[in-house]
Symmetry: C2
Subunit: 201 residues, 2 copies
């Protein structure tokens, strides 16, 4: 869009909407128009929601989760099983596991994976604080719920070595056929893992 057809505020709105992951420049223009049209219902509350988030979001000092309180809601929850520590790469993984409601314990967010090529060593991740937590007597099991990628698995390997001196059980997620998945679409690695870990019925 050329510069001279609407004010700089509208251009800037389109520009920053376009930086939202999932919106390109074209959909940002369409979104901006819709938001402006429904200014009171959409644009004003969105501005308020973003401002509130900016002012209140903190990183939990204990587990690395994103929340508006520190320690985060999960770390403060007395119903959580503190003997079970679930290690994940990113906060998005925590949200996914919480949606499934399958983790009774607390989390530890690494903030990514080791990647020597990108210059991400152990110091760049929340590994030291994980070891510190794992040393606590209350922790009995550390589940390394990292992605089943090369980076995720090598990071899991590194962490399990670091945890050797701690008196904890170390576990990883099971590999296999995703529930609802069709064999025809699965890769050889997954099929091989599913055969190896077959269960008697």
């Amino acid at each position: 869009m050329s510069r001279n057809i609407s004010g700089p505020e509208i251009e800037r709105l389109i520009q920053y909407l376009g930086r939202i992951p999932g919106l390109g420049p074209r959909s940002a223009r369409r979104a901006a128009l819709q938001l402006i049209k429904k200014k009171e219902q959409l644009l004003v509350p969105l501005a308020q929601a973003i401002t509130d988030a900016v002012n209140n979001i903190v990183i939990c000092n204990n587990c690395g989760n994103i929340d508006t309180r520190d320690p985060c809601t999960i770390c403060q929850d007395p119903k959580r099983d503190v003997s079970f520590l679930c290690v994940i790469e990113e906060v998005g993984d925590l949200w996914a596991l919480e949606r499934a409601g399958v983790v009774s314990g607390t989390y530890h967010v690494l903030g990514g994976t080791l990647s020597p090529l990108d210059g991400r060593g152990p110091e760049e991740l929340n590994i030291a604080s994980l070891i510190e937590r794992a040393k606590d007597d209350s922790v009995k099991e550390v589940l390394l719920a990292l992605n089943a990628t090369v980076e995720g698995q090598s990071t899991a390997h590194f962490i399990s070595e670091q945890l050797e001196d701690c008196n904890v059980k170390i576990s990883r997620l099971a590999h296999g056929v995703p529930v609802g998945g069709e064999l025809d679409y699965l890769d050889e690695g997954t099929l091989s893992a599913a055969i190896k870990s077959r269960k008697q019925i």
Copy 2:
């Protein structure tokens, strides 16, 4: 996402991001995480851009365009040909035509099409102000650049009847094969129009 895993500010951010056209609930969550991660580069400027837009956006009283000044930038532009009035349905159409840079005149935004079933009569659209503008002696031609849909075309028909008493030339966009289009994918109406309006080469 269950209620108790992060603060209400984050939930609200996800909720309102999800109302942006083009973002669903799932992509809103992913977008929220990315925005929070890059708070200073993305979230803070986005909040500022939206607040500026909310505070500054006005509808041009002359043509119905969205801008931060009234009359809008286009209506104020002395280089525009005021004898040529391009009528469009929505501001998005104005932006599309401006991106193409093909309209030398000014615009008039109807704000939609006539739709008796949805209770949208002539009073709901900016038709009265269009007739008023067309009566001005400086206006020589009114181009009804409405969508080639049933609603667009019936609205164009209605407006052209209203404009009969004004001393202006009334025109519409040409129908035909879109540039870059393949005949195989075009509907019969388009092909028929393209044959009827064929040009000698």
